[in-house]
Every structure is written in structure tokens, then in C-alpha cells.
Symmetry: C2
Subunit: 213 residues, 2 copies
């Protein structure tokens, strides 16, 4: 089931709510107010109530929301219930760190395969994942893996994106600092670490940064 009327801004916040609910559920908390949720993720309580109302979930006045029910509901919308298999290409410094990144598991993601082109990387085991030769990407076909993480260089990223799409990947998290052209059916999110850092100095007090240059 798709919820076509949920605005992108709400979809952007839903995983934040999901993560809070997940941790409250693990602590066996039964109910939660919109204010509690709002305080933790730093939005207004009315925003939380509006976001949740898009899929018909209303809290009970004086009681709040049912934690487990809401967790399951948001998980269904975001498709975070159950485990999502993912693959990673590019096991350099960043790629290796991503293979060990504990945050993915908290959303139910499991990186089950990793690929690199460098012979000295191939065959290594990192966090229980054996690094394979990138030429073996084709073996992923038909294995119900739809999420790919690209951590190769900017010059290789477009080629790798094409290969991932060829084996059925339709969601890509791209760390290469380059714009990737993908078919419309493929969703891509870019994390350009240096670019985000480069956006900071403009907003910092001029007298300080002037000194640093």
C-alpha cells in the first residue's frame, strides 16, 4: 500500500519518529504524547499531530499515541518493518566504516554484500561481509536486493550506479561527490560530506573566519 498524499516533508520526518518509537518500544513504554515525540525530534507538537494525521492516526486525548501500534504503522508506510537487504560498492576508508556503521541496523538494514575493484581489498572480511570483486556484481540478480550504497570515487560512481541498476537496485545512497544520472524508477539520495562542510563558513561570524583564512 502506498500513501500517495503524504508530503515529502512528512516522509522526511517519519524515520525520526520511527526511531524514537522504536527506542520507547524497546523500553516497554505503552503510550506517548505528541509533545514528548515533538520535544525529542525538535519540531512543534502540532507538526507531529499533522504528520501523523496524514495516515489517519489520531492520539487519544490525555493518553497519547499507542507506541507499538504507531511504530508498526509508520514502519509499514516507510517499509522499515522487517529487514531490508543492501549492498555496498567501494570498500575504501569510508566504505569500510559504512560496513561497520551501527546506525543502519537500528532501521533494520543489513548490508549483505560488498564489492571493490582493488585486489588487496577483495577477499577481506569486514563485519562478517566478504568483499567481492566488482565484476561479480551480476551475481546479485534475482536475490531480492533493492538498495545499494555507493562509496567509490567520483569517476567510477556513474558506472557503478548503472551496474547496480542493471541487477535490480532501485534505491541508491550515493557518497561519491558527483551528480548521478539514473532512470526515473530509481530513487537516489546523495551524501556529499565535503560539500556540507564547505557550506559552513559562509554562515559563521565574518571576523572569525576572516582571521582563519
Amino acid at each position: 500500500m502506498r500513501y500517495h498524499k503524504i508530503p515529502d516533508e512528512t516522509v522526511r520526518r517519519l524515520p525520526l519518529y520511527w526511531r524514537v518509537l522504536h527506542s520507547l518500544s524497546a523500553k516497554d513504554q505503552v503510550h506517548m504524547s505528541s509533545k514528548t515525540l515533538a520535544d525529542i525530534v525538535h519540531v512543534n507538537p502540532w507538526q507531529v499531530r499533522k504528520d501523523l494525521s496524514y495516515f489517519g492516526t489520531l492520539g487519544t486525548p490525555g493518553v497519547g499515541y499507542d507506541v507499538k501500534k504507531l511504530l508498526k504503522e509508520i514502519g509499514n508506510i516507510l517499509r522499515l518493518n522487517g529487514t531490508q537487504k543492501a549492498v555496498l560498492v567501494g570498500v575504501g576508508n569510508l566504505g569500510a566504516a559504512l560496513l561497520k556503521y551501527p546506525g543502519f541496523e537500528s532501521y533494520g538494514f543489513d548490508i549483505i554484500a560488498a564489492f571493490d575493484k582493488h585486489p588487496r581489498k577483495i577477499g577481506k572480511t569486514i563485519n562478517n561481509v566478504i568483499v567481492k570483486d566488482v565484476s561479480q556484481l551480476n551475481d546479485l540478480k534475482g536475490r531480492d536486493i533493492y538498495i545499494g550504497i555507493i562509496a567509490v570515487s567520483a569517476t567510477s560512481a556513474q558506472d557503478i550506479a548503472g551496474k547496480l541498476i542493471d541487477v535490480g537496485i532501485c534505491g541508491i545512497l550515493n557518497f561519491a561527490p558527483v551528480y548521478l544520472t539514473v532512470p526515473k524508477k530509481v530513487t537516489i539520495r546523495n551524501i556529499d560530506i565535503a560539500l556540507d562542510l564547505a557550506r559552513l563558513p559562509y554562515y559563521m561570524p565574518a571576523k572569525l573566519v576572516g582571521k582563519a583564512i
Copy 2:
């Protein structure tokens, strides 16, 4: 000099332009059209011309923009000319990868110090940076360092942010998956890797993701 009238959306794109100009300048290219720039960063040529017009830079019809002049101008606005010193706190897998990340250098950033609380990390040298005890953060005072990168756990991040701000940091790139409260004078950008991955499945074809769950 601040350019108060430049919209955030333009500031968001300027580092992309800067990076392209930097690489063209390194190849001794003298002129560049708005179309060339637009094609590389995947926006419309009119958007490029509009963005650049905010600070009074106009191309010459039939010739384009002067690469070196424009590079310097954007660099001055973004304060990317010269080297910007930065510090990193949290030398776990991700922090260590960030210390080795080549992308920062391309914008003139230099991570000159790193800190961790774990004895087995302290004293290690990673990419020519010696990891120091987080208790030594105070030594940064008065050293003209204004940019901090936080790669500690979610539970420690707020405490570390406070300590960084105490020693004069006013621009923070935060990788901890938590909302940090900072004074208004401090600019913060968050990179929440798992959160970005968690936003993908919603947009992927339902029949595929349904199978994966």
C-alpha cells in the same frame, strides 16, 4: 564582507560551482559558459546566471565567465580561499575514515587535530594527525580554529558540542544521529547517514520492497 542578500538555495549551490571552477582552473581553462557549469552540476543555465548575478558577476556574451576571477569571487563569498582549520572529535570507524577523507582538502579544509576518549585510540597517528584525549579539547582555545566535526555516539554528542563551542568553534558538522542544541551564533549541519538510507524504501516500487520484507 557578507553578502546578506544571497538566498540559502544559492549558497547551497555555490560550493558546487566552486568545485567545478577549481578543477577547470587547475586545467588552465580560461573561460566557461553558464551552460557548461549548469550541465556539470545539473541545474538550468538560467539558474546559474541568476545565482551568480546575486553578487554582481555577469558573463560576457559569447565568451562566458572568467574562470579564475569567478573562482576567487565565489571563494571569497563562501570563505573557501585559503585553508580552513578544523578539528574532529570521535575517532571510531567513521571518524577515522573522515580523518582520511580526501574530499575535505579539495575545499581547502585541513583537519589539524583529533580527539577521542578511549585510551586505545589516544596517541595513534591517523593521516598525520595525532589522536589526543578529549580532556585536552581546552588546548584549542585561542588557536583560530572555528570548525568542528562531531563523530561521537548520540549520547556524547551534545556534551562534545558544548565543549567545542566553549573553545570557540562556531561551525559544526555533526554525524551523531541526534538533534544538538547550540547557541544561535553557532551554525550546525547534520549528516545522519542511516536516516538518509531509511528515507529510500518509501519511494521505491512497492512490489519490490514488499517482496524484500
